[in-house]
């Protein structure tokens, strides 16, 4: 998987490394700002109120 991504990154090694880091940062940002906030209300320990 990662080898496949690496093979498909264009350019010389410096640009490939930069792109790889950018991809990783983008992935973490997607998790932190989109996926986790969506998931958060579904987690059990966030229910703290009583009543229907």
């Amino acid at each position: 998987m990662y080898a496949w991504i690496w093979r498909h990154l264009p350019g010389p090694i410096a640009i490939r490394v930069t792109l790889a880091v950018a991809l990783a940062v983008g992935f973490v940002a997607l998790l932190m700002f989109v996926i986790f906030p969506w998931l958060d209300p579904l987690l059990p320990f966030n229910n703290v109120d009583v009543g229907e």
Binding site: M1, L31, L39, L43, F45, N47, V48, D49, G51
Partner: protein
């Protein structure tokens, strides 16, 4: 300058003078192409490692990131509340508390639990939606407000989001829960637990800080300081907890404060409930705005 002519896999012809480019007399081992099984195992391994890292990041998000986000929102709510108290306080000669017209997520009071240390301070906001509770402890809208007869009820997170109610299972009977409003300080104290009720007057009830705290009678007879209930049990925030019993007559109506959070920690199977009763009220002195009640120094 020499040239290498390829004739096919593993075969070639070298012509001319190659100098330093002379190929090694020990041919390199052929790079082995990974077969299908190896590929599958490798990809599965990478996927599992990735999943593990994602789960770790979720943990970081829940216990660290949300704390930071909530701390910022709590700070904003507190400064908005301070500004409002400052701006409206001077003009109001009556010094009457106003709780009408609060919007969702608006701060209206601050709570302190001296037993948790001097830095335990949260601005209580209106409402118990997810967005409200991200800011801080939230007030159940239909319940009473601080100091009023009835049951001032507040929900708070126990994990992440600042976790204001992380330790409320450690509050002991008679511990103070101090609520600051624009013009008053209200000192609530946790009621005796079920085990302590028996022999309260001869036992713990004698301690100095337990002044004004005793098992309540009348319609409140069933009420204990701490209880663990099912999430559907809305009776614990009724004016007469824990079962929402019959409305008491004007004279015997108590001013209670109830805290709710999830239980056990990291679960939503049950709710941990702490009930307390109003024991003292200090009106703020407009000439001494920085004066604080002595209960805040209690440990």
């Amino acid at each position: 300058m020499g040239t290498v002519q390829h004739l096919g896999p593993g075969a070639g012809r070298i012509t001319g003078d190659l100098g330093d480019l002379m190929p090694s007399p020990y041919p390199r081992a052929r790079t082995r192409q990974p077969d299908r099984v190896q590929k599958i195992v490798r990809n599965a391994g990478e996927a599992l490692i990735t999943l593990g890292v994602v789960v770790l990041m979720l943990v970081v998000y829940e216990v660290y990131w949300t704390d930071l986000v909530s701390a910022g929102k709590q700070r904003d709510a507190t400064s908005a509340l301070d500004t409002r108290w400052h701006d409206t306080g001077a003009a109001d000669a009556q010094r009457q508390e106003h709780f009408q017209g609060l919007g969702d997520g608006d701060g209206f009071a601050k709570m302190y639990i001296p037993a948790f240390g001097a830095d335990f301070q949260f601005t209580i906001v209106e409402g118990v939606s997810n967005a409200d509770l991200e800011i801080g402890p939230g007030h159940y809208k239909k319940t009473a407000y601080p100091g009023q007869p009835g049951n001032f009820s507040v929900a708070g997170h126990r994990v992440g989001k600042g976790a204001p109610f992380n330790d409320i299972d450690l509050i002991q009977s008679c511990d103070a829960i101090v609520v600051e409003t624009q013009y008053n300080w209200y000192v609530y104290r946790m009621l005796p637990t079920a085990e302590e009720k028996q022999g309260w007057a001869q036992g713990k009830g004698k301690e100095a800080k337990c002044k004004g705290v005793a098992p309540l009678g009348g319609p409140y007879k069933e009420l204990d300081g701490q209880q663990i209930v099912l999430p559907t049990n809305g009776g614990v925030i009724a004016p007469v907890p824990p079962n929402g019993g019959k409305q008491p007559s004007k004279g015997e109506e108590a001013s209670l404060m109830t805290l709710t959070t999830c239980h056990p920690r990291f679960s939503d199977k049950q709710r941990l409930i702490v009930h307390s009763v109003l024991t003292k009220q200090w009106a703020k002195d407009p000439k001494k705005p920085d004066e604080r009640p002595p209960e805040l120094e209690e440990i």
